[in-house]
């Protein structure tokens, strides 16, 4: 691994903006926040995966993976980040390194040609080049290739140095964001700026979630200038340094980026979430408050409160019809744990009982809020093994599971309804109306009449009250020509599965 990469990793691990990190001792901070992985018991994506997740939602960029097939071949086109414009980001582009390329040391040359082909064929706003395990191991210098390619063809080529073996998805998120800070942000200037310009970082616009929130910002006259998130354009990333405020959405991974924006360009940031009613309101308040601090007219706050009051009332009214359908039902919430308390409180408001919530990635602060809402911490899980979860669900420990795709089948095979609330989901649940959609999804899952049928006994679960008396089989087996001997089987009370008499049967039936 190059020294530059080693340094960068050490640096992103030492994140003063991260609450978890600052709470650690000096020593444990140095070891970084990725745990050493256990062979045979590890799950989760690699750093490359993480960088892709973070950067791929930039829609007019061509994302080129410098690797043998595995990295891109098994992983392209597998997320639902939505675009309102270019579709370039959806292309699966890889140098597909072959044995020959590797043995002959032709990786860099091939990459250079590949960049050219991509620019020729797709005219992207930029090319992001991802280094992976094999390209790093054979020592390809993607930085140099990108520099040469940018100079030659005039399209920015951005190196993203994230070989999977350096660590987890989370680390990859960070390294991806670093690449943006080093190579993209601040390279273009917007034509005009307004006091209402903000950055949104870390929302991937999955299934269009950003668009559930954008109408609110539109009504307040707030413009998303810079964006490291879903439906972003390359130019928006490049101009992010001119925004007044940064909102960091549900994401510790990008905190370094937000902090650096603050340090270098003086843009204050806050962490917020658009999941749940109270969180959405909080986020809007924070955005407006910070914008006002930075020179926006104070009346913005009034407009903001009016909007919140109106939207909250509307959402609560829309939720009310669901109350009788979900009241008293028990939810197990198994997500990253991040900010789930906002959803928890919304569900509890509707009379649902939250029997458990995972706190894997939650901060102390998140924990406290959960305790506040739920009374104690007895319902917080650190980590639940699939088998454990299966047993709990099968034994009717919960009525519905809200989780990511990973535990989908744990619930379904235990015949328990499941609602997808993670990254690969196909529904949008952000903002006020998103909460209504989520409750609607829970209602649909919970109250489907199918569950009762599925859980009802099979025909053979109860013994037969009467036996049928059938005549003994007749005729010969078509293969062996051995005749069936009437009388050899116990004639009375034969099982109702028997060969129809007199027909020439298949061997498989006899």
């Amino acid at each position: 691994m190059s020294d530059a990469l080693t340094n960068r990793i050490a640096q992103v691990f030492n994140e003063p903006g991260c609450a978890t990190n600052t709470a650690k001792s000096e020593v444990s901070r140095k070891t970084g926040c990725t745990k050493q992985l256990t062979p045979g018991a590890a799950a989760g994506g690699c750093a490359f995966d993480g960088a892709m997740i973070a950067l791929q939602p930039i829609v007019d960029v061509a994302h080129l993976v410098h690797a043998p097939l595995a990295c891109a071949g098994n992983g392209w086109d597998n997320r639902s980040a939505a675009s309102s414009g270019a579709e370039t980001y959806r292309l699966g582009l890889t140098t597909d390194l072959t044995e020959l390329d590797i043995v002959m040391g032709q990786g860099e040359k091939k990459l250079f040609r590949a960049i050219h082909e991509v620019i020729e064929a797709h005219h992207p706003a930029a090319v992001f080049v991802y280094a992976t395990c094999v390209s790093a191991l054979i020592g390809d210098d993607i930085g140099a290739v990108c520099k040469a390619a940018s100079a030659k063809w005039g399209t920015p080529c951005i190196p993203v140095d994230v070989p999977g073996f350096v660590g987890s998805k989370n680390l990859g998120n960070k390294l991806g964001a670093e690449a943006l800070f080093d190579h993209v942000i601040g390279t273009l200037e917007p034509e005009t700026t307004t006091p209402y310009d903000i950055n949104i970082i870390g929302d991937f616009n999955l299934s269009g979630e950003l668009w559930q929130v954008k109408p609110l910002l539109d009504r307040l006259g707030i413009r998303i200038l810079g964006s490291v998130s879903g439906d972003a354009r390359y130019r928006q990333v490049a101009m992010a340094h001119r925004a007044r405020v940064t909102m960091l959405v549900c994401s510790k991974a990008f905190v370094t980026l937000a902090r650096k924006l603050e340090e270098r360009w003086g843009i204050p940031y806050f962490e917020g979430s658009f999941y749940g009613i109270s969180d959405t309101s909080d986020a809007l308040r924070r955005i407006c408050g910070l914008l006002i601090e930075r020179g926006a007219p104070a009346e913005l706050a009034l407009r903001c409160e009016a909007l919140i009051a109106e939207e909250e009332a509307r959402a609560r009214a829309a939720l009310e019809p669901y109350r009788p359908r979900v009241e008293g039902r028990r939810v197990l919430l198994y997500t990253g744990g991040h900010k789930s308390w906002s959803v928890v409180s919304a569900l509890m408001e509707l009379g649902m009982e939250v029997v458990g919530t995972s706190m894997r990635k939650a901060t102390e602060n998140d924990r406290e809020r959960v305790v506040q809402i739920m009374g104690d911490d007895s319902h917080m899980y650190e980590n639940m093994a699939p088998r454990e979860m299966y047993t709990m669900l099968r034994d009717a420990g919960a009525d519905v599971l809200l989780s990511g795709g990973r535990s989908q089948f744990v619930a379904l095979k235990a015949l328990v309804p499941w609602v997808d609330v993670n990254q690969e989901k196909h529904e949008a649940y952000a903002g006020y109306m998103g909460m209504v959609d989520l409750v609607r999804a829970i209602d649909l899952a919970l109250n489907n009449p199918m569950w009762a049928d599925l859980r009802s006994p099979a025909p053979w679960d109860a013994p037969l009250a009467t036996g049928a008396v059938l005549p003994a089989p007749q005729g010969a087996c078509p293969i062996t020509h051995i005749a069936a001997h009437p009388g050899q089987l116990p004639a009375a009370l034969a099982r109702p599965l028997a060969v129809a008499s007199g027909s020439a049967t298949d061997f498989e039936d006899c």
Binding site: Q36, L37, T38, P39, G40, A41, A42, A43, G44, C46, A47, F48, D49, L64, P68, L69, A70, C71, A72, G73, N74, W76, D77, R90, L91, G92, L93, T94, T95, D96, L97, E99, R113, A114, I115, E117, A121, C133, V134, P163, G164, F165, S168, K169, P386, R387, Y390, T391, G405, F409, K413, A414, E424, P478, I479, T480, A504, D506, F507, E508
Partner: protein, 461 residues
């Protein structure tokens, strides 16, 4: 007949192939109580798992040796030992299948040797059979990885014998990666119809067929029982389904003198006839069972009904070699013209026998281009072909792996008399679903003059 051309570009646009280690992992999942283990960094496994889950809509056990920066430099033997230990602790598997990735192979590790040493030393691992296949991502695709894994399984678990002691009613059915669980079931049904008992390897029909089982397991559920694999030495014959299984069949032949027959394709009347003939000879059955007769008669009728739609149909197909060959030849035999054929691996003799001029070794970008140039009317490939279908406004028949935007992929059966019949219906119906009403312009005729057109007006009140 066909010539293989390698697409000459540095960038692969919209990959067609899935990686070789994934193919190996899938093959290992056809063994009962197994956990596949990818030797590499953890990301490959995570991607692979998502890929499998999206296709099968099932939780899939898949583990990684989790190589990190240190083991990447120093070698990963310890990682393997630790991984086996941990998997055994958590899931008590009867079988662990290891497949290496590009990372491990680029380092040039002697995994086989290290594994032998580990297994010799760690007698406590004895209750779990461990098998290893070298499947670097940079060589071949899913089908090649699958084939290597099956070869590794039979090399390790089928005993070498000097004496033939055949069980005259047992045949080994070596299933290629292109077979769905439903297709394996269909073959089993056919073999049983002749009074023979198939030993299926690998058997996805029990493990990834999609069923609710009533308990949760950290290993594969169903599949070929590990202990039965040795019995392949006693089969009267090995039936290799797919050219890719020839290697494994040879190994069994070398080790246990079991004669092998390879069936590169089993879709369409003639190929299935060949299979049935072989079953008749093997079982000494001069008269096939009535169900087989009837299925053939029904396939004949389906061909009669379908040929109006398949005759002259311009087909673009992209798949691993065996699947491409099986479906491609079946359509060509029905009068269709293969205008574009793209495949994933050069390692297959069936490519040369494709009924078309060229086969491209390439990606879905090449597929889209070739389909456009060849003026294809229907596309046949996996779900990622949806981008090409969208761009070209053509119907897409989803076959192979992965199929993630339709459910029930495991139930598609396109071989045997019955499956061929279903396949022809699928094609004919996709063709009929294309909306086309003849217009005068299509023929260069002018439409009737405007003055004759009726001008709608509202009724007077």
């Amino acid at each position: 007949m066909a010539r293989l051309v390698t697409a000459r570009h540095a960038v692969s646009t919209n990959p067609l192939k899935s990686s070789a280690p994934l193919g190996a992992a899938l093959a290992y999942l056809g063994i009962e109580g197994s956990v596949p283990l990818l030797h590499g960094a953890q990301g490959c496994t995570a991607f692979g798992m998502v890929h499998l889950v999206r296709h099968f809509k099932e939780a899939v056990p898949l583990q990684t040796t989790a190589m990190n920066e240190v083991t990447t430099i120093l070698g990963g033997a310890e990682q393997i030992e630790e991984a086996i230990e941990n998997i055994r602790k958590r899931a008590q598997p009867r079988f662990i299948g290891i497949a290496s990735t590009a990372l491990a192979e680029t380092r040039g590790e002697d995994v086989a040797g290290e594994l032998r040493e580990i297994l010799a030393r760690r007698r406590d691992f004895d209750a779990t059979r461990v098998v290893y296949a070298a499947t670097p991502d940079f060589d071949g695709g899913l089908q090649d990885g699958w084939a290597k894994a099956v070869e590794a399984i039979v090399s390790a678990l089928v005993p070498a014998t000097q004496q033939r002691d055949p069980d005259l009613r047992q045949v080994t059915l070596l299933c290629g990666s292109h077979l769905t669980p439903a297709e394996i079931e269909e073959l089993v049904r056919m073999v049983r119809a002749f009074g023979l008992e198939p030993l299926v390897l690998p058997d996805l029909s029990g493990s990834l067929d999609g069923h609710v089982s009533g308990n949760w397991s950290g290993t594969s559920l169903g599949g070929t029982p590990v202990d039965r694999i040795a019995l392949a030495a006693r089969s009267v014959c090995t039936l290799a389904i797919g050219e890719q299984m020839r290697g494994a069949a040879r190994i069994i032949e070398d080790r246990a003198m079991v004669p092998a027959q390879v069936f590169p394709a089993l879709t369409g009347l003639k190929p299935v006839d060949g299979f049935v003939r072989a079953l008749m000879e093997m079982s000494g059955t001069p008269e096939p069972p009535p169900s087989i007769r009837r299925d053939r008669a029904r396939l004949m009728d389906a061909m009669l009904d379908a040929h109006f739609f398949t005759g002259g149909l311009r087909v673009a197909i992209a798949a691993d070699p065996d699947l491409m060959f099986g479906l491609g030849t079946a359509l060509a035999a029905m009068g269709a013209e293969i205008v574009a054929a793209v495949t994933t691996s050069q390692h297959s003799p069936v490519i040369g026998q494709m009924p078309c001029e060229t086969v491209i070794l390439g990606d879905l970008g090449d597929f889209e281009r070739a389909a456009r140039v060849g003026d294809a009317q229907i596309l046949i490939t996996h779900s990622h072909g949806r981008h090409a279908a969208h761009a070209l406004h053509l119907p897409l028949l989803r076959v192979g792996f992965p199929v993630f935007d339709r459910i029930g992929a495991q139930d598609a059966c396109r071989l045997g008399y019955r499956g061929s019949r279903a396949f022809l219906y699928e094609i004919a119906n996709a063709v009929q679903a294309i909306h086309h009403r003849p217009r005068p312009e299509d023929f260069g005729a002018t439409p009737p003059p405007e003055e004759f057109s009726h001008v709608p007006h509202s009724a007077p009140c």
